[in-house]
Amino acid sequence: MTAFIFICFLPLPHRYKTMIMTAIRRYCLSVHAVVAFIGKSVSYLMPILAFVVAFEVFSRYILNKPTIWAYDTSLFMFGYIAALGGAYAQQQRAHINVDILYNKVSARTKSIFNLFSFALAMLFMVIVCKMSIGKFEEALEFNYRRQSEWGPHVHHYWLMMTIASGLLILQLSSDWIESIYHAITGKPFLPDDIRHQEENA
């Protein structure tokens, strides 16, 4: 990203600049596509989650046979939905912020604020990602499981957390690039229609 700032000011021939910019733009658009795909896919877990919990109630109350798997399964699905949707929420600017000052400043100042905010968020996500990789390796090494009677493996949860935080890093990096381009040039970096496609759908 720092390289990106230099590129804007480097005395390179124009066509090289254009080439580099196109490459960066392509990077951002691919990040958007991957994040949107995963964000939308994970939402299919929503009805399944409700079904699993409802099935446990049915099995316990009607059949008098509580399952051993529904408790952990529902918690895993909860974690997957909660974590993996984060990058898509960032892409759609759905994460909650306090917009009192933010809404009063110009678009360009907003971009400057974003540079700080997204960097702070990225710091957090890089550490989440690093710790999740560590826990994933540890879970594999010691064969970590849930403490329940069923005792399913937990390594996949940490792999999922690695991916979820990794996606957030990618999305934040793309948003950061967008913001710095806009802060410097005052022009949008990516086409307008990549956000809010789903609005009111």
Binding site: S43, A54, S74, L75, A89, D99, A121
Partner: protein, 440 residues
């Protein structure tokens, strides 16, 4: 080593600055904890992340949040939510602000289903916010009613913070639950009275429904009544599933989801696409809510590991104040903590520190516990940091800013403060009913 007072000050400044710059709340809190933590503690602090993630994502109590959000989305997208309000308005009649009143009533019922704040706000927010705004209700009234009503989730039993309070201070959960009923009733009555009076004084806040140019036929009226009653039945069914011991409060959200889908089929509004769209929106909201909880928990865990609880404990020792001043001081401390700490942590941290002192001064522990719950209800909706605020912002349509939400809370915070003060002045409001029921 940095003193905990200085550290708390620095953290508070960091929150204010990053919130002012419009940073995403959850990730900013996480980032601040990591940054400040790295400087004061070192990289060993990073290990707070895995334990916090596990505690958050593997919390069965929090599972109510996705289930109730999904139920709310299904209700609103299938039109069942509208039917619910149409019917309750028919019951209330042509009163100014009737929709806001029915929101309070519905929120009270949701409050009787769930034991946490988030589920109530996000469910009633999904169902009721849009209808109110579409009918031209004042934004602040609409937002405030939902937040105040959603907060009832922890005041009307079942309530997770009450269970936590009872266990950490060795008091009866049953007494807490029963003791909360009168304060809850007072809150509900005050909220409704506020809506009625403020709409009388300022009719623009809640326009009357236009009298349709073509009178609805008997058949149409019948349809509204039938659809509405069926929808209200859903709430009754969900509540019934808890009372009859079929499902736990958390699981009841799943009963609600299944019920909403069955109703949509009955109303011939069921489309797989609708279920999928509701899932899409619900997943996004769940993710938003949970990343806030993760970031905020990382932040507060860091703060606790650094010893903020010792600061509070130290502050309350040897006060030498008159007893009632001590109680008031505790309330003020908790309100202040509510600026930077979440509801569960306030209970876990303050209940064991404050309650023995209150009891030694001769106060009833159940009464003190209810004061704490009333206090937390306020704390979660005071700026800058309060989960009720964040949940509501998550559910609100794009046009609603955080400033709208901040401005909406004032009258409702004052109302809840009134309840807190009244209950503080008249402990019998809490103690009479449990003593009457449980000792007879």
């Amino acid at each position: 080593m940095m003193s905990i007072e200085l550290l708390t000050g620095i953290l508070f400044v960091c929150i204010i600055v990053s919130f002012a710059l419009g940073a995403p709340v959850g990730m900013a809190l996480g980032g601040i904890a990591m940054g400040v933590g790295y400087i004061t503690w070192g990289d060993a602090l990073f290990n707070v992340i895995p334990t916090t993630l596990e505690a958050t994502h593997f919390s069965f109590i929090l599972l109510a949040i996705p289930l109730y959000i999904y139920m709310g989305q299904l209700l609103t997208r299938s039109g069942i939510g509208d039917a619910m309000f149409a019917a309750s308005q028919m019951l209330i009649g042509r009163v100014r602000g009737s929709l806001a009143i029915s929101v309070i009533v519905v929120c009270s019922m949701i409050g009787a289903m769930v034991g946490i704040i988030g589920a109530g706000i996000m469910t009633s927010g999904s169902i009721a916010l849009r209808p109110m705004l579409e009918r031209g209700y004042d934004k602040r009234l609409a937002l405030g009613v939902i937040m105040a009503g959603g907060g009832l989730g922890i005041l009307i039993p079942p309530s997770i913070p009450m269970i936590m309070f009872a266990s950490s201070t060795q008091n009866s959960v049953g007494r807490m639950f029963i003791g909360a009923l009168i304060p809850a009733l007072i809150t509900i009555v005050l909220l409704i009275a506020y809506v009625v009076i403020s709409c009388k004084l300022n009719p623009n806040r809640a326009p009357m429904d236009k009298i349709p140019e073509v009178q609805p036929t008997v058949k149409e009226k019948f349809m509204t009544a039938r659809d509405g009653l069926l929808s209200l039945m859903l709430i009754v069914a969900v509540l019934g599933s808890i009372i009859m011991g079929i499902a736990t409060p958390t699981e009841s959200g799943a009963i609600g989801v299944v019920g909403a889908i069955i109703l949509a089929i009955l109303f011939k509004r069921f489309k797989p696409r609708m279920v999928q769209k509701a899932g899409m929106q619900a997943a996004l909201l769940v993710s938003v809510a949970m990343w806030i909880i993760v970031g905020a928990s990382v932040f507060s865990n860091f703060h606790l590991l650094m010893g903020v609880q010792n600061m509070v404990a130290g502050f309350t020792q040897d006060l030498g104040l008159p007893p009632i001043m001590v109680i008031i001081l505790f309330q003020v401390i908790m309100l202040l903590l509510g600026f930077i700490i979440d509801e569960f942590i306030i209970v876990l941290m303050c209940a064991p520190i404050f309650t023995p002192i209150a009891v030694s001064l001769g106060y009833d522990p159940i009464w003190f516990g209810i004061l704490m719950i009333l206090n937390i209800e306020i704390a979660v909706q005071t700026p800058p940091y309060g989960f009720a605020l964040f949940y509501l912002k998550g559910i609100a349509p794009p046009g609603i800013t955080m400033l709208d939400i901040y401005k909406s809370i004032l009258p409702f915070v004052l109302l809840k403060l009134c309840v807190l003060i009244v209950v503080m002045m008249f402990p019998e409001l809490v103690t009479w009913l449990p003593n009457y029921i449980m000792d007879s």
